[in-house]
Amino acid sequence: MSSPETKATETKATETSAEAATGHGDISTGVPNAAPTGSGDSNASATRITPGNALRPEDIALEVRTGLVKPSGDVAEYALRLGDDALILAQRLGHWISRAPELEEDVALGNIALDQLGHARSFLTYAGGALANEDGTAKSEDDLAYFRREHEFRSAHLFEQPNGDFAVTIARQFVVSYYQFELYRRLTESSDETLAAIAAKAVKEVDYHRDHSAQWILRLAGGTDESRKRIIHGLKLVWPYVGELFEDDALVTRLAEAGAAVVPSSIREDFDRLIGEVLKEAGLEVPDVPSAPGGGRSGKHSEHLGYILAEMQVLAREYPGASW
């Protein structure tokens, strides 16, 4: 298995043709050759824009298109699950834009949503490599996001749960980010190099999501009677959907034996411990509520997903191929 750094270098080599093929070139708008040469750089600016060199969904799309990588059917199904989790959460969080309690929190939730959308794009693009359209081409991220029906989505129920008030969203973020961190942390060791590379990029972002949610758990719990009441209620609303995240099935077991996937049940212990530490500091308890039936991984969803998909997919379906 190559390290994430090696992976980034490999994709870098194909960058020129990637730009030509995808139209996503260098996004740098800073001063050319503005690399700092030491103290007193007169070009230095607090707002200079540099693109960085992290793995992008476009890089994966190019690898898929040129046949450099091709996931097996199992890996594609696994990538669909991870991608759908992130996609549905991104859509949910996006609804907070312009509605958060403060402008700063608006941007924070928007950033988290965009991080999740980025992970979704990478996972779905990769999954598409094993799924063909009718004309034989690999399915694109858009094909998978916009033109699948509800029962074809593989996201767990937690991600489609309504935003509720701010406390409910924070409670959902708390569970999601601690789960995703433990998952991606282990997935960086995957024998599947693309999954490992996506996870390596995602884990750093999810680490920040953990911090964001934990800060708010502490503040809501330690705030007023009202904020405390709401966060307790929020945790109670999302907790029935925690169990599904850690359910194993034949697919993940098979993939885990090959070293490609992470067995969900294997991360439950760390999740419980770390969640417990934050809740203890906040003076909160793990809600004692029964588990929901789940079934998202096999396409059985709650009534909420249909509404999300209707809103998310309507434009692409009404105007196929539209661009803006």
């Binding site: 600016s45 309690p101 403060e102 700063e104 309504p162 509720g164 705030g223």
Partner: protein
């Protein structure tokens, strides 16, 4: 609950994070919050008396260092309930395009600023005094390494 819940309900309670505050009244008006300095877990008490009316959160000035070896440069300001959240908000608002490697946040009212009206007496004196610049002086003969 509607499909999207009801995020429009103002979450004013979320803006108050004083753990030591008396937990008597369930409804806290922004005015009440304003009167009590906000303190986050593990944070030192910071005066946020510069609150703008209607905003429960204090104003913070943000300084970003774009790379190693450079100075922190003022990037803008933001609202936050305490220093820990101010740092995080600054990260989200001012470094989302890879602008920085280090952030400082300072309560806006901790900054003493020069009076814009006294520009004349403050800043005009150095004008015309070019002997305060090194280039005013000619190089002396026989002095090396200049």
């Amino acid at each position: 609950m509607s499909p999207h819940g009801n995020p429009e309900v103002p979450a004013s309670s979320a803006t108050e994070i004083n753990r030591e505050a008396p937990k008597a009244s369930p409804v806290v008006e922004p005015a009440d919050i304003k009167s009590s300095p906000v303190v986050g877990p593990g944070e030192t008490r910071v005066s946020t008396s510069s609150n703008t009316p209607g905003n429960a959160w204090g104003l913070w000035e943000v300084f970003v260092r774009s790379s190693r070896g450079l100075s922190h440069v003022h990037a803008g300001s933001l609202h936050a309930p305490d220093a820990a959240m101010a740092l995080r908000n600054a990260r989200d608002l001012y470094t989302r395009r890879n602008e920085g490697v280090s952030i400082w946040v300072v309560p806006a009212d901790a900054i003493a600023a020069s009076d814009p009206d006294s520009k004349g007496s403050f800043f005009e004196s150095p004008q015309g005094k070019d002997y305060r610049h090194a280039t005013y002086y000619t190089k002396s003969e026989g002095v090396k390494h200049l």
